[in-house]
Amino acid sequence: MHPFNATGIQCQQVCYRYHSSTPWVLNEFTHTFQPGISLIKGASGCGKSTLLRLIAGYLPLEKGEITLPGGATPNNRFVQRRDLGFVFQQLNLLPLATVARNLEMAGTLAGLGHEETAERTSRWLKLLGLDALATRRPHQLSGGQQQRAAIARALIKEPTILLLDEPTSGLDDLNTQVIIQTLRQYVTGAKICIICTHDHRLDSLAHEVLDFNRFLPLERHLVALAGTA
């Protein structure tokens, strides 16, 4: 039986700041992410990426509460290994491993068997158009290829929660379309996908869009609005 129920990701009064002397990046943020694709938009520094890291358990929660589907907390290592996929904006791939090895390693850490790992590696590389690049190392790939490889690595364990931080930043339309198609096919049923992005090309994917600019202090909010005008 799958350990998660499709109850969404509940954020209750979530507060976070990087240092005690700095202002809150997130201040009493409350929201429930339902199954489907949620886009978080907002200016730089408004706390989008921070929220993703808090949900993934990569940052310690200072105040408030985050509950994952099934009642798990974000720092649950089992969830991190099996049911959470995270794609960073950069520094995504292990530099000395080939693309295929990057995927296999993620599969192995997720507890997949050898054959299943091999099958999924092959399948996801093919779906993301990377099958011809499987034996290359990250530095031999373009930015778009690296980002697709990182998404393939996050998807190999077919997680219930998929978190993507600026997945299409700086990518051309072709690479972006491949990613959009892949996400559209993957995020079905109880799966929850949260994407932090500035990219309007992803808007068509979204089941909901959250504007994080509203959490900014007034003066920064005005600057952000001026930037988007």
Binding site: L54, Y58, R77, Q80, R81, L91, L94, A106
Partner: protein, 343 residues
């Protein structure tokens, strides 16, 4: 380098110890030349022993080394030492019921008999090894002859030799050398030539002191080198592993497992490098130390293997401490939250 210096010192110390054991570590030899014109010269007779007061402080053997030589049946020349009645108890382990002649040599089987000719007289001598008692005489092959075996043997004079071995828990050796000098000066005699292990012992002590200084310097140098090498490795490890470790932890890999993997890898690499270096030194040991002038017997690894010693264990301990220290930055890196590293 550390292994090379430590092995060199071990070999030097061993060389000195061999010299000491050949001489007799705790034996004093007094030599006094008696010529026919000396007041002490009594041909073929007992001369009062000036050193007899020392008798109660240890084992004493008195011999006369003659200026003539004996011939063995194998045509080899032998130095002649005569012994008197007073020396019989000490020499008992060398003597044989069938003959009073003892041939001390390593060339013939022990316990066999050889024919000896001296002063136109022949006799059978039993073959013995020098052993601890006679080793300090430091003469290759010689023969022990009773003083009255052949008249006029000491007609041309002789060297009066007294071997004195103090009791194990007795006074230090230098007190006896001083006592002998005083005894002779009271008799208004020139002090005999005294041969003891003291100079070699002093040399050994000096070597051990130098060795300790070198060990300290080596430890400091090794520590400094390790600090520099491992420090550099640690900084690189920190920079390299910080990101990779965080990435692996983002997939749920346990931090402790990542740390121990790093530690084991560091220890493996450092130990392998140290062992390869020591093995290389081991493989060129004989050629290298022969070049440094050590004797073949001393550098024979089948006889003495300095690579299986406390020093090598010390080097490996230092290497492993260094490997552990170099893994600490990785531990610090793993304490940082994934989100902060991969921001």
């Amino acid at each position: 380098m550390a292994a090379l210096i430590l092995v060199t010192f071990t070999l030097l110390e061993k060389s000195l110890r061999e010299r000491l054991s050949k001489f007799g570590l705790n034996t004093l030899v007094a030599r006094e030349v008696i010529t026919p014109t000396s007041a002490d010269y009594i041909p073929n007779g007992e001369v009062p022993n000036r050193l007899s007061p020392l008798d109660e402080f240890g084992r004493m053997l008195r011999l006369r080394q003659l200026f003539t030589r004996a011939k063995s049946e194998f045509a080899g020349d032998l130095t002649i030492f005569t012994y008197g009645q007073e020396s019989l108890p000490v020499l008992a382990e060398y003597l044989d019921a069938n003959t009073g002649l003892v041939c001390v040599t390593d060339d013939w089987p022990e316990g066999s008999y050889v024919t000896i000719t001296l002063n136109r007289q022949s006799g059978q001598a039993i073959v013995r090894r020098a052993g601890d008692l006679l080793q300090p005489i430091n003469t290759a092959d010689f023969i022990l002859v009773p003083q009255n075996w052949s008249p006029d043997l000491d007609r041309a004079g002789y060297t009066d030799i007294t071997l004195f071995e103090p009791l194990a828990d007795g006074l230090p050796m230098n007190r006896f050398t001083e006592a002998i000098a005083i005894t002779y000066s009271l008799d208004r005699q020139t002090a005999p030539q005294i041969q003891s292990a003291l100079p070699v012992l002093r040399e050994l002590e000096a070597l051990q002191a130098r060795q300790n200084q070198w060990r300290l310097a080596m430890a400091a140098l090794l520590g400094l080198s390790l600090a520099l090498v491992y420090g550099a490795i640690a900084v690189l490890e920190f920079r390299q592993n910080l990101y990779v470790g965080a990435l692996l932890r983002s997939f749920g890999a346990p931090g402790k497992a990542l740390y121990f993997r790093q530690w084991i890898e560091n220890a493996f690499v450092a130990n392998a490098a140290a062992l390869v270096a020591i093995f290389f030194l081991y493989s060129v040991h004989e050629q290298l130390f022969k070049m440094f002038g050590f004797s073949s017997s001393l550098i024979n690894l089948k006889v003495h293997n300095p690579y299986w010693s406390e020093e090598m264990v010390l080097i490996l301990i230092c290497v492993n401490i260094g490997a552990f220290i170099s893994s600490l930055p990785v531990a610090f890196g793993l304490r940082r939250s994934v989100g902060q590293v991969l921001s």
